[in-house]
Amino acid sequence: MTNLAVWGGIAAVVISSTIGDVLQSRAMKEIGDLGVIRQSHGTWETTRRVVTNPGFMVGLGFMAIGFFSLLISLSWGDVSIVGPASASLTFIANALAARVYLKENVDRRRWLAAILVAGGGALLAH
């Protein structure tokens, strides 16, 4: 399989995973600390609160798309390229999306981490 196809697969993983991550992060922010809820209300109630959150379910759908894209990409390229490259590029896309859509405080420290991880991801492709 050509490099173009492998990177196309990685792009599909990055886009769908980022949408899924942002939606699920927003859902978890709304629900609250799962450890605290589980301690006082049990595992069943914790699970109910998570799976009845609409944002979580839509995010799960996008993560499923990302998962199957990852499976196909892994069949096209080495796991030591596809795995780290898709994950690190997803990290960069998430940093942008989290700042815009989740209003997270992505400060200089986190941007520096993003640049280092992006550079590391680029090197992993060599």
Partner: protein
């Protein structure tokens, strides 16, 4: 950072690395999948390595959601990027893939990035249910209050 939170973050990294390597090993048995051979992807779901990979990624998912419930997305992702190191090590010693010096340098850069973000705050003030008063369900607020 409490011991519980540290264990959850490490679990996210370990499950992700082992799950991806297990899936990678399973998919190698099927060769390259094209649009014309998509049904073979369903057959792949019966492969033991794929099943193990899915179970490991399920563990990843539970620990990942737990981490997101008390930390920012932009904290959880880089803090658990230690999975890249585990993944490259497993790819080299378990899948016997060739790992070049450039990839090791990439791992080093990612590790430094992880270090930068890991020593910072884990959450944006007011971003999560347990540290603000809006949106939260009443029981959750009471729980968070009793913990504090």
């Amino acid at each position: 950072m409490t011991a519980r939170k540290f264990i959850i973050l490490f679990a996210v990294a370990a499950f992700a690395a082992c799950g991806d390597v297990s899936l990678g090993r399973g998919m190698k048995a099927f060769g390259a999948i094209t649009l014309a051979s998509l049904p073979s992807l369903l057959a792949a779901l019966l492969n033991p390595w794929i099943i193990l990979g899915i179970l490991l990624l399920l563990g990843f998912f539970v620990s990942y959601l737990t981490a997101l419930s008390w930390a920012d997305l932009t904290y959880v992702l880089p803090a658990t990027a230690v999975s890249y190191i585990l993944m490259v090590l497993l790819a080299k010693f378990f899948l016997h893939e060739h790992v070049t010096i450039w990839r090791w340098l990439g791992v080093a850069l990612i590790t430094i990035g992880v270090g930068f973000v890991a020593i910072g705050p884990e959450a944006t003030p007011g971003a999560h249910c347990h540290n603000r008063e809006a949106v939260c369900e009443p029981a959750t607020l009471a729980d968070a209050g009793s913990e504090a």
